[in-house]
Symmetry: C2
Subunit: 372 residues, 2 copies
Amino acid sequence: MEGSLSDVSTPGRIADDGEGISGQELALAARNHGLPLEALRYDVTPPGLHYVLVHYDIPPADADTWRLSVGGLVRPLELDLSALRALPAVTHRVTMECAGNGRARLSPRPVSQPWLVEAVGTADWTGVPLRMVLAEAGVLPEAVEAVFTGADHGVERGVEQDYRRSLPLRVATDEDPPVLIAHTMNGGPLPPQHGCPLRLVVPGWYGMAHVKWLRDITLTDVPFTGFQQSVAYRYRQAGDLPDDPGVPVTRILPRALMVPPGFPDFMSRVRVVRPGPVRLEGRAWSGAGPVVRVEVSADGCASWVRARLADREPGGWAWQAWHCDWTATPGRHTLTARATDVEGRTQPLEQPWNRGGFGNNLVQHVPVLCCR
Amino acid sequence: MEGSLSDVSTPGRIADDGEGISGQELALAARNHGLPLEALRYDVTPPGLHYVLVHYDIPPADADTWRLSVGGLVRPLELDLSALRALPAVTHRVTMECAGNGRARLSPRPVSQPWLVEAVGTADWTGVPLRMVLAEAGVLPEAVEAVFTGADHGVERGVEQDYRRSLPLRVATDEDPPVLIAHTMNGGPLPPQHGCPLRLVVPGWYGMAHVKWLRDITLTDVPFTGFQQSVAYRYRQAGDLPDDPGVPVTRILPRALMVPPGFPDFMSRVRVVRPGPVRLEGRAWSGAGPVVRVEVSADGCASWVRARLADREPGGWAWQAWHCDWTATPGRHTLTARATDVEGRTQPLEQPWNRGGFGNNLVQHVPVLCCR
């Protein structure tokens, strides 16, 4: 049996009408994992409950010998962990979400990691502001982007690659929010699956920007056109390049999620509540700034009531808590929450379809049975 | 819309021929998660990579106010965390595996949590031997079983319940291995998803026995016949009781897993290796005692070579490391490992089907493409 990469690494595809989740999608779902929605109760997501999406393998990493190189249009630098830890560090609480969150709810369904709504988590990230390291390296005036390379290596849609993404220099050196080279998560070393020993943290951006297992930063005078920038992570209606270059996926769109009330059925995950008052609560976030309004519907989006929403902490990039009261009456109900952010963007009631299945912030639907 | 529990909590079923993974199975796969197979490289599974299966919700738990009650055929006791921590503790390294591991590889497929092969993990569990607590409580001579109740509550196949399982008193009070009331995992408090603040650890048994969020132990003079004992977790060929009472699921069957060599394709997870020598390595375990032989096939189970196998630590109940060398030649290959335990049980090459999808230790198949 001979074979070539193109046999095992095929183009993206859209599932057929009525096609169940495939074995390949299941293999991704069994490796990667989302936040069990009841864990929205924690301000900071406990270890192991934060969503994880790893494109290839979690690479072996030895923090003692790890080196971060900074090259390209700078005075080249090489930093080990002790050098990075010796620099002034800041801590930010950041909500991260996978750009593909919601993909498996789309119809037709783009075939990839099949998230429903749970690809989110919040952590306290401590590290060195990227702009400090870049200032130390002396970025040359002609540089326009910083390209970040992780240690994870694989093949994707026929292209062998290290995972690599860029940021415009303006974003990379922003002061609010600062992009971090994070060496600490929730007060301890990064777990292997979250980028041990170093990852980029880009508050407000979808997860693909937060390059894990960060080993190289290269400053360039042309925009990066690698796979994860120009082929993947684009909002695109038609097929692949060059038919439709698409629009880059960047900041997180607004979303509210509810802690499912009552208790679940094991298999259907339908919630069971008793008649009477039920407190509904959850979290809401947006990558554009604070969420300013959360509304809740208990009748399948026919009518809405305003939830009480906590303020976002100044300078913070974490989700905001919300709650409201609901009186459950016997029968079946569909609960929904909807967030609107400071820029007036709100969650759609109809799916925002695109070929990669990115940014699907269609409102959550929580089926509930109220019985005595 | 009225409704009843039977509308949302339906009997178990077998997927139709060719039926893809359903939305309900996907919702379980997105909540629960397996060990990414490259994490077999770690002796002790890092936090967040150990498999997790939660039947209902992770319950809120306050370690400061948590009480464990011991009742039934004893002098009733109530213990808080500080009382348990004051008792002499022991630490055991234990490999845990979900009884449903391998379910989604079965054909036809029982519809439930759709594990492939990855529902496993190893941790250092510290706690009080259950037999010490039972001795303190003075078990009456007529007691035959201990029934363990967790704080997780839900509905399953129409039955509302707290998660509850029993052990025969002989197993519950065994000295080797000792059943633990564990308050510490890998040196720290239990994470919420692993049973914070207390769980049972039953070395050598599948995961359903390791009751999480343990809040009650009741000694009884009759065998427990609750849902998780008599309906679920039975090896059964026909439909539900009373047609086929089935055989209880107890100890872990032997299994070897391989760290997939080379690097993956994102979507197909097929591995890519270069021609030449490749070290193959992995872990093997059995709930009946040590694994005594691991064999590896690189030709789809036509021929086998013996791997080098590390001894199991005396008194330990953790997986054993194994490795062997393979010379990759251009083309496609299927790699397989097979464990045999001290009692002579070996992994099957044909699926051991049962209606619940339990104990499917069919050998793993790792598809590999070797190219330059």
